[in-house]
Structure formats: C-alpha cells, structure tokens
Amino acid sequence: MSITQVDIDPKEEPGVYDRPSAVMPSVDLLVLGSFEDPDTTDASGLVVELIDLYLKEATRVFEAMRQGIETEDWSVVKRAAHSLRGSSGNLGVLQMAGICDRMEHGELSHTLANQLLQDLEAEFVQVGHILVAERQRRCGANTDR
C-alpha cells in the first residue's frame, strides 16, 4: 500500500483557516482497494471505474464551486462541497474530504471560499497523481493476468 502525505507548512498563511493536517494521507488506498471484488476475474474493475468517475466528477464539482463563489451563492457552494465530501470520504480521498467539510460547514466569505477552492484544486493535483498511478497499476495487473 502506498500512502502519500501532503507537505503543508502549518505556519503558512495563518488565520485564513485551519489548513489540512500534514499527518492525514491524501489517499488511503486501503479504503479504495476495499471495493475490489475478490470473486470475479476482473478483480480491479470497480476500483478503476470509481477512479475514473471520481476524477471526472471532481472537475465538474470545482466548476460548480467556482460559479457559486463568483455569485456568492453559498448554497450552491455548500451543496457541491457536500457531494464531493461524500464521494471523497468513501473512496479514501481524505484531505479533500476534510477541505470539503470545512467548505460545507464553515461560515463562508468570498476570500475563505476562494482559499478553500484553491486548496482543493492543489490537493486534487496530488490526488490525481496517486489515483492515476493506482489505475495504471491495476490495469497493468489485469493485462498481466
């Protein structure tokens, strides 16, 4: 299992909000891997499907957040954060789930919401690398079978 940590300096930009914990992994691949189906020959099929869907959906959610922030429609932003928090948490994408939780439950201002979205997008770059690598590993494993 490979767990990657985010290197965030807790002293960076103090006072905006509590930045994600450096201890929490970006992706807990054990959680994602728990959806493998050991009874089928295509053992990693569902996990690969979930990775593809998650990467696509997160991009769509960022756009919804950006539009909500632009118009300061916090109900749109919070609904988008709620949706992404649920799927992130369930797939073991822990840091993003944490940032979404702050966005969903915090009192938002334009500055804070923008900051949280920036953090989400930065974290998503990291998450994307991990999930794409995991996808390739699994697809490679299937090809070898």
Binding site: V31, L46, E49, L53, S87, G89, N90
Partner: protein, 139 residues
Amino acid sequence: MFSMTKQNTPRILIADDDPVIRHLVTRLVEKSNYEAVVCADGREAIRVLQSDSNFCGAIFDMMMPHLEGLELIKFMRTEKRLMRIPVLMITSESDLKLMANSFSAGATLFLPKPFTADQFHSTFKLLLSTNSNKVVRNA
C-alpha cells in the same frame, strides 16, 4: 437513466445525485444479484414510483437536489402500494436529529458514509430481511 427490466430479477430502486456513490451502490447491489433501477435525483425516483411499485427495497441518498430522500420516504409511506418497501438511507451527515427524522418519516435503516463494501452488504442484507414480501434467493 434507469436500467432495463430483467425478467424475474428482484429489483432495487436507487436514487443518488452523486455519480460516484450512485455507481458504487449500483455495482454492489448488482453483485448481490439484484437488478438496480437507478435515478439521478429524488424527482426522477418519484416519477418511477408513481407508475412502478415492483421493488423489494430502495436506497436513497439523504441530500439530493429537487427532492430529498426524506421527502421520498414520506411520499412512499402515504402510498399503500409503496408502504411495504423497506428504505435504506445513505448519508454523510452524522446529525442525530436528521437520523431521528428519517426514522420517524419511515426509513428502515441508515448507512453513514463513508462505508465499506462489507458494511454495505451487511446493511443491504438486513434491509431485505425486513421486507414482508421477501424474495427467497438461491445462495
């Protein structure tokens, strides 16, 4: 977006606006040899329920656009032909009041997110055991 009906396969109604969770739940339900009838939100689910009651269970997300899971349950509990269908609510909220409201509205079970495949299968099995018109399945 619902699937085609397969003859004699017991059916589960699924409504979730999150494509990732919706796909995950659908695949887990299908893995248990049930047919998933899939809706992208509560409004779509209510349209299905208005003309179709042939479900041995339903799985709803609590928070959905247009019509929330709670409203769907309230509708089902006022319709005689839908009353018997057990409902599993899935939510990422840990609010006890929300949970209590779901049960008083008529939810059968509650599955908090995040959940594992094992947790889903146990809860799903429990859900179907509460159905008075149980479908007996081969192991």
